[in-house]
């Protein structure tokens, strides 16, 4: 393995201005909603006011009669989708569920569930038309909490749904035939936990609850769709994967993929939430019915209530360790609320839960449970922030009971190369302990807290990252620049990092690469911009296309120099003859000679890389708790993360800081607040309480670089892991500050005050 220093990169590791920067800072970038077609209509969705109800009757006649209304649709206007599982990159999806989620058929399964849609000459007419649609509901009792939904007498959301049992994350599973709200039950087993707990001197067992949270991307879901007279469908939207959405639309609409073209517009954040389709399908059907292009955009309340937040959970976590600090066993029971349809991230959460540590005996029972809430979607390291919050809280308590420094305890038990995850997979080369050691070396770790009611917490985390296919093409321009065509929407700065890997390959400056993101007809298949895989997989494709282009250019140089191609080499941006040292051409010079040596050169490659380097990270945070109000001030934050090779360090740091910021929000204040009828009552940014800039400290990002040996540029995913440690780190810091162990998220001020009261009355009782 080479270190990043030994690789001697010229472009990689520098911080050039991103290629899309000027457009974005001047407001000229075209986001989904900025795209317009002549004659476009506005579409709006009518949503269920009830969390659980049979749809008895829908009468759209009054809405259809309203002047300016061009089409009205309900679930009946969608084809009956096949009951079929499809791989969705980060999670698997069932086509029928997906279809029922974008437009309810017969049953509304959560408040905000789409039941009808209209297209009209403008937004106001569309809104007025919604009010004219008559829906008769038979309201059913809602099931809102996972543990309640598992009870034998719980109302069933899907009366025909049976429980499947699984042994690992993407296991197709075995059908038990038991009708239940439990869609899946996964058991991950390593070693013998009973034996492991017997060998423990200290055991800690705790229950944890986390609430639903939203990704909180700024740009609301939107789509402009034209279903043309030749039955071709064109979509302009912002998503995390054009090819994935093309496939989902094809399955739901029973339409050939080749007749659907998706053109990605700039995207204002996704974090996993823009993987599924929502508006694209009703907009397409409205367009077909009206014969006009249809534009739709969600309000913020619709985004909260009608898209895919992250699951709430109820968890039990038990861990044991010997007196000298070796963790001997770990057990967990994880109940994840999938929302209205199966498919929570509980499998991923289970996979990542104890993976930071080398534990020989692990048993995890994971339940995927449907409840009357929106269908959960991926959110940055899906499932793992919840499970690691539980695990890291218990690890901290074990360390405290054993009198060992929490960071030392983690280093002592840290997983290393060759150790196994709970599902048996062995760890490749990675930088887990390196992150912990890097934190230990900081001034932050050595500093005093500087006041009363302050505490310091650490927590670690793991995320497996994903591979997924990618396709890229390069063409060599006569002025020595390179056009890079790719097909992965750029959310976190991938254009510039892909351009930098291209530039490195050709020995030219990053500015001399011109990246652009193509529609689904103009580039080969690309997986999702998700799973922290965009830079990784496109880097593999870029290494291939660059090699192909360089080889073709070597042949041209050989022709010029009247020598064999094997005599021509390329290094540091220069073609040179191995036979005659004076024969040299820079990349730029050679690019200018292509037309006279046989014509233009362009190359393309499609790849499906394996060996996504896993991510490890440890965070440390100082907080001050106001014991009278329960308010937590985050004072200081340091995050150390193994980033493989940081292609553009600024954007890697941004990913680390962004995940930490979202994790702080998840830990302290964000939650879906439901009333007893299953209505979310805080569906606005005012009341949902994401952190603002004034709620966040400077977040110090330490980039630990342990290159991924399976990648041409040493890249490993960097975007998701940063949201995993903050929840546990904050819980541990609060415990250190005021002595209460918060077992429920969010750790809102009123809960901390309550915990302090309980602690006081306990100690009074004991005294």
């Amino acid at each position: 393995m080479t270190t990043v220093e030994e690789r001697n990169y010229k472009v990689i590791g520098t911080r050039p201005i991103r290629h899309d920067g000027a457009d974005k800072v001047t407001g000229r970038a075209i986001y989904g909603i900025d795209f317009h077609l002549t004659g476009e209509l506005w579409g709006k969705i009518l949503r269920s006011p009830h969390a659980h109800a049979n749809i008895v009757r829908i009468d759209t006649s009054k809405a259809e009669a309203l002047p300016g209304v061009r089409a009205v649709i309900t679930g009946r206007d969608l084809p009956v989708a096949a009951d079929m599982e499809i791989d969705d990159g980060e999670t698997s999806l069932n086509t029928m569920h997906l279809s029922n989620n974008v437009m309810a058929h017969r049953k509304a399964l959560y408040r905000g569930h789409a039941v009808a849609a209209v297209a009209a000459d403008n937004q106001h007419i569309a809104e007025d038309a919604l009010a004219l649609i008559e829906v008769e509901y038979e309201v059913l009792p809602p099931v809102l909490i996972g543990r309640d939904a598992m009870k034998p007498d719980a109302p069933l959301l899907h009366p025909e749904q049976t429980t499947k049992t699984m042994a690992y994350r993407f296991d197709p599973g075995t059908d038990t035939g038991d009708k239940s709200n439990v869609a899946g039950r996964t058991e991950m087993r390593l070693g013998d936990v009973d034996e492991g707990f017997k060998n423990a001197d200290v055991i800690v067992e705790r229950e944890f609850t986390t609430n639903w949270v939203h990704q909180g991307y700024i740009e609301a879901q939107n789509a402009t769709v034209l279903w043309n007279n030749d039955d071709s469908i064109q979509v302009w939207n912002s998503s995390q994967g054009t090819f994935n959405q093309r496939q989902l639309m094809a399955e739901i609409l029973k339409h050939p993929v080749s007749k659907i073209r998706i053109t990605p517009q700039e995207i204002g954040g996704g974090f996993g939430g823009k993987i599924p389709v929502y508006l694209e399908v009703p907009a397409a059907v409205l367009s077909k019915k009206s014969g006009r292009p249809v534009k739709m955009m969600m309000t913020r309340a619709e985004v909260f209530e009608g898209t895919g937040p992250a699951s709430g959970s109820q968890m039990v976590c038990k861990m044991g360790a010997t007196r000298d600090g070796k963790i001997t066993a770990a057990y967990a029971e994880l109940v994840f609320e999938a929302g209205a349809f199966p498919g929570s991230a509980v499998g991923a959460g289970a996979q990542g839960m104890f993976t930071t540590y080398n534990i020989e005996n692990v048993l995890i029972h994971a339940y995927d449970v449907v409840v009357n809430k929106p269908k959960s979607a991926a959110y940055r390291s899906p499932g793992t922030p919840q499970t690691c919050y539980a695990a890291e809280s218990v690890v901290d308590e074990l360390a405290k009971k054993l009198g060992i420094d929490p960071l030392e305890f983690r280093i002592k038990n840290a997983a290393r190369e060759g150790d196994r995850r709970a599902d048996g997979v062995q760890h490749p080369i990675m930088g887990n302990t390196e992150c912990m050691e890097a934190l230990k070396a900081t001034d932050h770790y050595k500093s005093d807290l500087g006041g009363p009611n302050r505490g310091r917490g650490v927590a670690s985390g793991y995320w497996g990252n994903a591979g997924m296919p990618a396709s890229c093409a390069v063409s060599i321009n006569p002025d020595g620049t390179v056009s890079l065509a790719e097909g992965s929407p750029d959310i976190g700065g991938s254009r510039v990092s892909l351009a930098m890997m291209t530039a490195e390959s050709f020995g030219i400056p990053a500015e001399d690469v011109i990246p652009s993101i193509k529609d689904t007809d103009s580039i080969g298949y690309n997986g999702l911009t998700a799973g922290s895989s965009t830079t990784l997989r496109n880097g593999v494709a870029i290494a291939q296309v660059a090699k192909q282009a360089v080889d073709l250019m070597r042949a041209r140089a050989a022709r010029l120099w009247e020598t064999d191609v094997d005599n021509v080499d390329f290094a540091d941006g220069v073609f040179f003859s191995k036979a005659e040292s004076e024969l040299k051409l820079t990349f730029k010079e050679m690019a200018g000679k292509l037309m006279e040596t046989g014509g233009p050169i362009s190359t393309a490659a499609s790849v499906a890389p394996r060996g996504a380097g896993p991510s490890f990270s440890t965070h440390m945070v100082d907080v001050e708790v106001d014991p009278e109000t329960g308010k937590v001030e985050v004072l200081k934050y340091t995050a150390a993360q193994d980033v493989g090779v940081a292609i553009h360090p600024s954007y890697v740091e941004g990913q680390v800081q962004g995940g930490a910021a979202q994790g702080i929000g998840w830990a302290l204040n964000e939650e879906y607040f439901y009333d007893g009828d299953g209505r979310m009552v805080n569906s606005s940014y005012l009341d949902y309480r994401m952190p603002t800039s004034l709620d966040l400290p400077d977040i110090d990002a330490i980039l630990v670089q342990v290159p991924n040996p399976d990648h041409p540029f040493g890249v490993r995913g960097v975007a998701e892991i940063s949201i995993v440690p903050p929840l546990g780190a904050l819980a541990n810091a609060i415990e250190a500050a005021v002595g209460v162990r918060m077992q429920e998220l969010p750790m809102a001020p009123h809960k901390i005050v309550k915990a302090l009261w309980d602690k006081e009355s306990e100690s009074n009782g004991a005294g």
């Binding site: 106001h124 109000t629 302290l668 009552v681 005012l686 603002t692 004034l694 001020p749 009123h750 005050v753």
Partner: protein
């Protein structure tokens, strides 16, 4: 879509006429930071908006150390806190004016609008009560004065009758050794609605409190004038015990509900904490005055 008529009278009389004509379906607009959001969100429906900003009297801000402060109902927050003399004389008002919304909102939002919106959480209302503010109301029957503590009658409802609107608020000149403060609790550090708020003012004579007013936000259907809390301190030195007694009286005056912003139990607790802190702050300011 409901069409809305916009009128911008330039005299009080014209405004009254414009309001009277449409009754409940007309609504005055000053900075618009509440009503526009309510209209857009479908939480309020009107046929006519009467923009009162064009009436000169509603934009007047005058302060005299003898006669006191008069704030036109449409004067935006930033004009108040950018006036050094007013900022020094009315510290509780200052706390509130700098808390409402963000900087951009403070460029439009008025204290008059905050009062007329009559939200239980209105941040300026307890401060106005602490400063003994009187609301000046104009209507078809002429003008009348209403003490601010009597202005709000229910969430979003006020004493304003048909055709009536708020013209200005008057506050007496602060006596010597006066101090005031407004504090609210929000889980974040900005952009939030008070879970609870407390405003307090004191007049000191040596180490004795001679006057004291306490008012609360977000703990009842309307802002609360906690008279007993103020009375608990009058005639006493502001010892920890005396302040605790006042805080206890404030807690007793609070009638909070549990909702997404906090439980009733927690809000009552916060009233005690915030009243204590606001009183301490006001006393400190009185000593420095």
């Amino acid at each position: 879509m409901r069409p809305i008529e916009y009128v911008a009278p330039t005299t009080v009389e014209e405004a009254v006429a414009a309001l009277v004509e449409k009754g409940e379906a007309a609504r005055p607009l000053a900075g618009g930071t509440d009503i526009l959001v309510q209209l857009r969100g479908g939480r309020r429906a009107v046929d006519r908006i009467v923009d009162v900003k064009k009436i000169p009297e509603l934009n007047e801000l005058s302060y005299d150390p003898q006669s006191g402060l008069r704030v036109g109902a449409a004067v935006p927050c930033h004009r108040i806190y950018e006036d050094d003399a007013i900022a020094e004389a009315y510290p509780g008002l200052m706390d509130a004016a700098t808390l409402i919304g963000g900087i951009q909102i403070q460029g439009r939002a008025s204290l008059g609008g905050n009062l007329c919106n009559a939200a239980p959480s209105g941040d300026s209302i307890p401060a106005l009560i602490a400063h003994n503010a009187i609301a000046e109301v104009a209507g078809p029957g002429g003008r009348r004065d209403v003490p601010v503590e009597d202005f709000c009658t229910a969430p979003g409802r006020t004493v304003l009758g048909p055709g009536e609107f708020l013209v200005a608020m008057r506050m007496p000149a602060p006596p010597a050794n006066f101090g005031a403060s407004y504090l609210r609790f929000i889980p974040r550090n900005e952009m939030d609605i008070a879970v609870a708020g407390a405003g307090a003012s004191v007049v000191m004579d040596g180490d004795t409190v001679t006057e004291c007013r306490v008012a609360l936000a977000s703990v009842a259907p309307t802002p609360v004038f906690a008279e007993e809390a103020g009375a608990a301190l009058v005639g006493k030195a502001p010892s920890d015990e005396a302040i605790a007694e006042a805080a206890q009286a404030a807690r007793a005056a609070a009638k909070p509900i549990s909702d997404m912003r906090g439980t009733a139990e927690y809000r009552t607790h916060l009233v005690g904490v915030l009243t204590t802190r606001a009183l301490r702050n006001a006393i400190q300011r009185a000593k420095e005055a």
